[in-house]
């Protein structure tokens, strides 16, 4: 008898599916936001909020559906991703609902738009659509490698999505950023979806071309440069996406795409020279944009020393506005201190504009304090870690690249947004995944989690037991 060993990439034989772990974690992921919701209600009105039951049931229902779908169609998926996303989404809903209760923000909305409509119900709906998207991904995408077939179509789709906001009549200009399109009363941010599609394109393309990019290179100034024909298409799409974004005034997203591109190129080719080139290009791009675009200049001024810049900036200029916003955000964080004021008891609504979207992290900082912010950062860190682990475990290069691209983009987005609001880097208008108000962001990120779960399911699924090898069977010795 010989022993047959089934070596899988994650090493374990008969890997446990961990679905029950996921279920237990999900219970927490639903219970914590419900408790937080109760907390806000008690702090604001001194009574149990009336919407609590509906909110709790809604969140629980979404989580259950997602869990059942994973249990049935991706049984070996990573058990942490779904609960983490659910928790973040649930907490985001609580924070948005909390800011909906702010009389100052209600007044501001009435003054600026003539009417106030609460954001939380919309966000709840977006979350439901997001979960539907997640379910859709898992149902339709039985194997992530199918996406490989759509490499070039993805390229076209990504370009199309990025160009959409520039189409007259369709795109809308919100405070200088032309990243939204408006269809039938809904604002959509195509860039959020473009991120996913672009990752598919990069993965498919790099998987095919990675040997050519890595090996067939010319040496130039100590660096290995790939041949033009290999590099051409990918550089083109990068440049085009970057240009569009510069025209659309959305530098955060452009930074995100660029970073994702460099990371994936590095992973695919294993060449450090890409990092060097990437950094050089990033610096060149930053300098070029920083010296021309005035709104970038004011963001940089606001980043360097917002309090000083507030004194020197001309009255009611864009720069004064950007600096004032930054000081408000910093003071919001500072006022939170170590433990925070408690949910519902802070004054993060002083940030006014975009308090529940771009700056929602400041509310976390003020009301949940240093402790809360660190928890949230670690939650994001865990999602990133699970994503990279999925990439490590994936058995096919396409899956590896895609998982890496998606988690890398997620990591960069978290860094750019959180670093921006905390004044670590200049502020760029982007949304904190799952936490911030915004349909496109929530839906696209649920799709992202869906894809990661699909890849991790494939990666962790035990390899089918090999067909019985006729040679391995016991040879019958026929004795005379």
């Amino acid at each position: 008898m010989s022993v047959v060993t089934n070596t899988t990439t994650i090493g374990a034989i008969e890997a446990p599916s961990r679905r029950n772990t996921e279920l237990a974690l999900l219970a927490f992921a639903v219970a914590i936001p419900v408790f937080a919701y109760l907390n806000v209600g008690l702090a604001l009105d001194g009574e149990v909020p009336s919407g609590m039951l509906g909110y709790g049931l809604g969140l629980a229902l979404l989580a259950t559906v997602a869990h059942l779908v994973v249990r049935k169609w991706a049984p070996y998926a990573d058990p942490l991703l779904l609960p983490l996303a659910t928790l973040l989404n649930g907490m985001g809903l609580v924070l948005i609902w909390r800011l909906d209760q702010s009389p100052r923000l209600i007044d501001l909305a009435k003054r600026s738009y003539g009417a106030f409509s609460p954001s939380a119900p919309n966000q709840m709906m977006y979350s439901a659509i997001g979960i539907a998207m997640f379910v859709g991904v898992l149902l339709l995408l039985k194997d992530h490698r199918v996406l490989q077939r759509y490499t070039y179509i993805s390229m076209v789709v990504a370009l199309f999505l990025l160009l959409l906001p520039l189409v007259p009549g369709l795109g809308t200009d919100v405070f200088g950023a032309k990243i939204w399109i408006r269809i039938g009363g809904f604002s959509i941010q195509p860039g959020e979806f473009a991120k996913l599609v672009l990752a598919v394109f990069f993965s498919g393309y790099l998987m095919v071309k990675r040997d050519a990019l890595a090996l067939a290179s010319r040496r130039f100034m100590g660096l290995y440069l790939p041949r033009g024909r290999d590099l051409g298409p990918i550089l083109t799409i990068w440049a085009v996406s970057l240009l569009i974004l510069v025209f659309e005034n959305d530098l955060g997203t452009s930074l995100l795409f660029f970073g994702m591109f460099v990371i994936m190129l590095y992973v695919a080719t294993e060449r450090t020279s890409w990092i060097v080139m990437g950094l050089l290009m990033a610096v060149a791009g930053a300098v070029a944009v920083g010296s021309t675009a005035s709104h970038v200049q004011s963001r940089v001024a606001a980043w360097l020393d917002p309090f000083e810049c507030l004194k020197t900036a001309p009255e009611s200029s864009n720069m004064a506005y950007a600096c004032d916003q930054m000081t408000q955000v910093l003071m919001s964080f500072g006022s939170g201190g170590i433990l925070g004021t408690g949910l519902g008891q802070g004054n993060s609504d002083l940030i006014q504009f975009a308090a529940n979207s771009d700056f929602i992290f400041a509310t976390v900082g003020e009301e949940l304090g240093l402790t809360g912010v660190m928890v949230f950062l670690l939650l994001y860190g865990l999602i990133i870690e699970r994503g990279i682990r999925t990439s490590l475990a994936a058995r096919d290069p396409f899956g590896k690249l895609l998982a890496m691209g998606l988690s890398g983009a997620f990591a960069l987005q978290v860094f750019v947004v959180a670093g921006g609001v905390m004044g670590l880097i200049p502020l760029t208008g982007m949304t904190m995944p799952f936490l911030a108000y915004g349909g496109s962001s929530v839906i696209a990120n649920w799709a992202l989690i869906g894809i990661l779960i699909r890849i991790s399911d494939t990666a962790r699924r035990p390899a089918p037991s090999p067909a019985p090898n006729p040679d391995a069977e016991m040879t019958q010795v026929v004795r005379p």
């Binding site: 009389p103 100052r104 007044d107 990371i263 590095y266 992973v267 695919a268 294993e270 309090f307 507030l310 000081t327 910093l330 003071m331 964080f333 500072g334 006022s335 939170g336 201190g337 170590i338 004054n347 002083l350 900082g365 304090g369 240093l370 912010v373 660190m374 950062l377 670690l378 994001y380 860190g381 990133i384 870690e385 990279i388 990439s391 490590l392 290069p397 590896k400 690249l401 890496m404 988690s407 890398g408 990591a411 960069l412 978290v414 860094f415 959180a418 670093g419 905390m422 004044g423 670590l424």
Partner: protein, 488 residues
């Protein structure tokens, strides 16, 4: 592909780490600075989020708090007799921060002070609304009223102190302002504030504590004290051997007197008729360093904290002999706050013992528990009891036989001592002089009140008629009378 993957994983870990570090920097290291930043509206939101505690005089609040229903600042400060009490309370404005007691005891008044922690926790359970604590002052309503009304439309200040304790009984400054007028943050409040800022008469200036004036002749009591302490004069009725036209040292100019009879006048007589020559010579005899020592024992050259800060009064430490001689009669660089002169008077009235002036008697929790009780505190002993009694005798002589007659209370069992001053100032003394008066009242049980009054610019009074005895003494008298009356 796993090697670069692991590197990217480390890179992503570093990104998260950078965020964590940045957050600790922001919310731990810089938290206090950002939290208390002047641009941080939260400080003000917090200040007006709950019913603000009151400042109390004679058991009655002189402040109030109304629910304005505003979305930023819920409660708004109100003041009872705002202009009269402004030098005591200061202001608490939603737009323009706060000052004086309103600022110094902000923690108690808002209820956020750590000492109120227990109280806060308790009310959390009983479900009571959070409320600020009260600040009980030492002031005397009747004395304050007498001081404020006595000053009337004139520019000036009055400080009254209880000599035995250092309790401030009256603290008036005119022209004054109504802190209610800019307590909010509306356009109306802004207009009121801007108008006050632009006002040439500086109504927001707390003259009683923050303005330093040349004291002129009232400073002579300090010189007299120094001369007695230094042993230059033993018998106040003995001749001082001062020629008429005594020459200022290092100068050829003689010291001028405004009245006759100063030649070789005794200390007692010299104080009564306010002889410049006698006191300038005495200051010179005592010497600069001894003069500085005595003045500083009285509180000169230092800021006082009542706890509202007062400006430091000045006695020049580096003057030459001539300067010192002039300083000794309250000219040259000598300058004093009305509070300082009240302290000098109080120390003399209290037999030489100077008590630290204070205006906050106790801090109270919303449930009336006393959180902090301030006790009288001895500050120094600038003159010995015997010399203090000599000074009292001389000052009483000024009132009964001299320039301070208008301050005489003429009440049985009450002795009044005082000193007038008419301080020249401005280039070549061209400006209208300041009228000073310091006085105390004394009964068998000690002295209940010492007052310092300055009238900067008396309206409708001819230049020649401005005098401490004429303008300031009646105000001092009214204040002393009010204090004696309220004591029964």
């Amino acid at each position: 592909m796993n090697k670069p993957l692991r590197r990217v994983a480390i890179f992503c870990g570093l990104l998260v780490l950078a965020l964590l570090l940045r957050d600790n920097w922001l919310q731990f290291v810089r938290a206090d600075e950002l939290n208390a930043h002047p641009k941080n509206t939260r400080v003000r939101i917090e200040r007006y989020a709950n019913e603000r505690g009151n400042i109390i005089v004679d058991g009655k609040p002189i402040t109030g708090s109304v629910d304005s229903g505003d979305e930023y600042f819920k409660f708004k400060r109100t003041y009872v007799d705002g202009p009269m009490w402004a030098p005591v309370t200061g202001y608490a404005s939603q737009a323009y921060d706060a000052n004086q007691i309103e600022k110094i005891e902000d923690g108690i008044l808002t209820g956020n002070d750590d000492r109120l922690f227990f109280d806060r926790t308790l009310s959390m359970f009983t479900g009571e609304k959070k409320k600020g604590g009260d600040v009980v002052t030492t002031l005397n309503g009747a004395a304050q009223k007498a001081a404020f009304e006595g000053l009337g439309k004139n520019t000036g200040a009055v400080v009254a102190i209880e000599p035995s304790t250092g309790k401030i009984l009256a603290l008036a400054s005119t022209p004054s302002y109504d802190p209610s007028s800019f307590a909010g943050y509306s356009g109306k409040d802004e207009k009121a504030w801007v108008a006050l800022e632009k006002d040439k008469n500086k109504p927001k200036q707390n003259r009683a504590l923050r303005e330093i004036y040349p004291p002129g002749s009232v400073f002579k009591v300090v010189t007299a004290a120094a001369a007695l302490e230094a042993g230059k004069v033993k018998d106040i009725d003995a001749s001082t051997d001062t020629p008429e036209g005594w020459k200022i040292p290092l100068s050829t100019l003689p010291m001028k007197n405004h009245s006759g009879g100063c030649a070789n006048a005794s200390l007692n007589e010299a104080l009564r008729i306010s002889c410049n020559s006698v006191f300038a010579k005495l200051g010179d005899d005592v010497g600069r360093d001894k003069m500085v020592e005595t003045a500083e024992k009285f509180g000169f050259n230092a800021e006082q904290f009542t706890p509202v800060r007062s400006a430091a009064s000045v006695y020049d430490k580096n003057a030459d002999r001539g300067g010192n001689a002039l300083s000794s009669i309250g000219q040259f660089n000598t300058a004093t706050t009305p509070l300082q002169m009240a302290m000098v008077t109080a120390a003399i009235a209290n037999d030489g013992k100077l008590m630290k002036p204070y205006m906050i008697d106790q801090l109270r929790a919303p449930n009336l528990d006393v959180i902090k009780q301030n006790e009288p505190e001895e500050m120094s002993q600038p003159v010995s009891p015997e010399n203090a009694q000599k000074l009292q005798a001389m000052m009483e002589n000024v009132v009964s036989n001299g320039t301070g007659a208008k301050a005489d209370l003429k009440m049985s069992g009450v002795k009044v001592g005082g000193k007038t001053g008419t301080a020249q100032h401005g280039e070549k003394n061209a400006k209208r002089p300041y009228a000073w008066f310091i006085s105390y009242a004394k009964t068998d049980q000690g002295s209940p009140v010492a007052v310092a009054v300055i009238v900067e610019d008396a309206e409708g009074v001819g230049r020649e008629d401005i005098s401490g005895g004429g303008l300031a003494a009646p105000i001092a008298k009214a204040v002393m009378k009010a204090v004696l009356k309220s004591r029964g």
